[in-house]
Amino acid sequence: MLLEARLEQANLLKKVVDAIKDLVQDCNFDCNDSGVALQAMDNSHVALVSMMLKAESFSPFRCDRNIALGINLSSLMKVLRCAQNEDILTLKAEDAPDVVNLVFESSESDRLSEYDIKLMDIDQEHLGIPETEYSATITMPSAEFQRICRDLMALSESVAIEATKEGVKFSCSGDIGNGAVTLRSHTNVDKPELNVEIALSEPVALTFSLKYLVNFCKASGLSSTVKLCLSNEVPLLVEYTLASNSYLRFYLAPKIGDEE
């Protein structure tokens, strides 16, 4: 066995795949000794998803050689639905594999289920994403971000995100009218997951497609907080931080042009 990765909770992979599968159809899971990585763009190539599940997220993790597992995410989701959230999940692949093997072990009973998913050859371009110093970094509860996106979606296709010293304003205008949600820095001592933090080096105002943002929000279940990073004229970064330095990041190109 070339790859053997054991996840304490099938839930993690389930949620990750569930969040990505509405953005990309097929993609490569690049496995190496540091973990399992995934990078893919949507059909229009205006959005990018980058996932990293570090080796530390698994116990144990073993990958003898770099290997790319091309998987159809819908198929993977079908199989993952067969797993209970609390099941122990083990990913296995042989050298030059035709299939990836998933084993679900029930944590409570002795139930053991095993699935093979056929792999596919995916020719994917890989983009190098540089570390960027963003002008504005907003950390907020993921549920809050999801709610804002969904609410504004009722009015418009796109949202303007404006970050200033006063706070961050999500505004939109559509056929029926307009709307805006403003958040200010906020610290909740009892529930730190409800904190809103705004780190700003200079004011930023950018417009994004709400459909995409709503799509990204499907990852909200993965983390209680979400980090939005903005700079003028670069893609928005929406990051969900996972345990053990693992992450799920979405990038979205801003809307530039005549409208708004």
Partner: protein, 432 residues
């Protein structure tokens, strides 16, 4: 061998007394075939005219008074100049005698209702096989040796025992050498001429023949099958269902007719002839009829001319030219050195084929009437349609594999949004 039924021949009225039926190797197939050789007029091949097998026809041969006359029943070919000869077997083949040795006094019913017409054939075709020795085939022309006429004609007499007889007539031999000169590079070696086949010359000679052939118009069946149908563009979906049926009928009618245009010996050859010329008519799917075709522009006319020309050439190639030669000539014909430029025709045919494939693909595949049509191009179109269907299925399957979210995202207006690759550089190496 005692009783071979008589055959009905139509011979040229002006033949000389020395005219003989002889057996020579067929230029294409090398099978022994019968020819009428007249030292003064030249050589004639026999073309068989036959009624379709389905139509029961026979000849009633009788004698009315002194003048021997042939009366056809069914085939009312009133041929007063026709005489009946009996060709018993090869040994007596050279002796053309009015059939007095076997009196047909009280009439004779000939079961086989075929008629053999002697038609003149160019010496060239008979001579050509001597240039097509297997060793010469495929080797480049410069390697081919110059040979004397004696040596070349020697080869022919090895194959056909009656060839020597033909050669014994000096003027025939001279005529043959003249024809050889038309298609050969020659050098003089002493008082003897040496010959080497030149494909270019042969090709232009054939083009000339083909021009002649189409000058008087191609036979209507060939015209219909290889010219008109090949060049017609498919039309409305609605008309297709009927046209397929009518076309199946048409192709049935075609069969006997195409038999009738092949030579006597060519029974076995029919299939090759038709299939070869079919190949030349390339991509024609030929199963959609166009009610009113627009032959208006000069462009179309020239396309028709080109296709006629090519059909004629390919008919000649597949009927009279030894296979080893025709295989070298065919690529030459389509190459740049070809005396005729078929490029516009090829382009047009490719366009038509594309249109047809599209039209066909849009049609239901359960249309069995199409299977009845005899055109092999149909198979090609069918495989293409099959391929297309598979591709569609593939797309469908892929669609099924994509989630609702992905479908929804396709509707998003991404105007004003740059591609990710505009922001991030491509890397060959894997990101950590």
């Amino acid at each position: 061998m005692a009783t071979q039924p008589p055959k009905l021949l139509i011979l040229p009225e002006s033949r000389s007394r020395q005219a003989r039926i002889c057996t020579l190797a067929h230029p294409r197939t090398s099978n022994p075939s019968r020819y009428l050789f007249d030292p003064e007029k030249g050589i004639y091949e026999f073309t068989k005219v036959a009624a379709p097998k389905s139509a029961s026809r026979s000849w009633l041969i009788g004698r009315a008074g002194l003048s021997r006359q042939t009366i056809g029943i069914g085939n009312t070919k009133e041929a007063s100049s026709t005489e009946t000869f009996h060709v018993a077997n090869e040994e007596t083949a050279l002796d053309i005698e009015p059939a007095t040795d076997r009196p047909i006094s009280d009439g004779y019913v000939l079961k086989n209702a075929e008629l053999l017409i002697a038609t003149p054939i160019d010496y060239l075709f008979l001579v050509l096989p001597c240039f097509a020795s297997p060793s010469a085939a495929g080797s480049p022309s410069k390697k081919r040796l110059f040979l004397s006429a004696d040596d070349l004609l020697e080869k022919l007499s090895e194959k056909s025992k009656h060839f020597n007889h033909i050669l014994s007539h000096a003027n025939t031999r001279q005529a043959m050498e003249e024809r050889m000169q038309a298609v050969c590079d020659t050098v003089d070696a002493g008082d003897e001429k040496m010959y080497r086949l030149s494909e270019e010359k042969l090709l232009s000679e054939l083009v000339l023949k083909a021009e002649n052939m189409i000058a008087r118009g191609l036979p209507s069946t060939i015209e219909e099958k290889f010219i008109r149908k090949a060049l017609e563009t498919p039309v409305l979906v609605l008309t297709r269902e009927e046209s397929t049926v009518s076309e199946a009928n048409a192709s049935q009618n075609d069969t006997p007719m195409s038999e009738s245009i092949t030579s006597e010996s060519a029974d076995s050859q029919i299939s090759t002839t038709t299939s070869d010329s079919k190949a030349s008519a390339t991509s024609a799917a030929t199963d959609m009829t166009i009610p009113n075709e627009p032959i208006s522009t000069a462009n179309t006319t020239s396309l028709y001319h080109l296709l006629r020309l090519r059909t004629a050439i390919s008919y000649i190639l597949s009927s009279y030219i030894p296979p080893s030669l025709s295989t070298t000539l065919e690529p030459l014909l389509s190459s740049a050195q070809s005396p005729i430029d078929f490029a516009p025709l090829n382009k047009h045919l490719a366009d038509i084929a594309k249109l047809r494939a599209e039209a066909l693909a849009s049609r239901s595949l359960g249309d069995f009437s199409r299977k009845r049509s005899m055109y092999e191009e149909d198979d090609a179109v069918e495989t293409r349609a099959e391929k297309k269907r598979k591709e569609e299925e593939e797309v469908k399957r892929k669609k099924a594999g994509e989630s609702r979210g992905i479908r929804d995202l396709k509707k998003v207006d991404t105007k004003g949004m740059k591609k990710m690759s505009d922001f991030f550089g491509k890397t060959a190496a894997k990101k950590k």
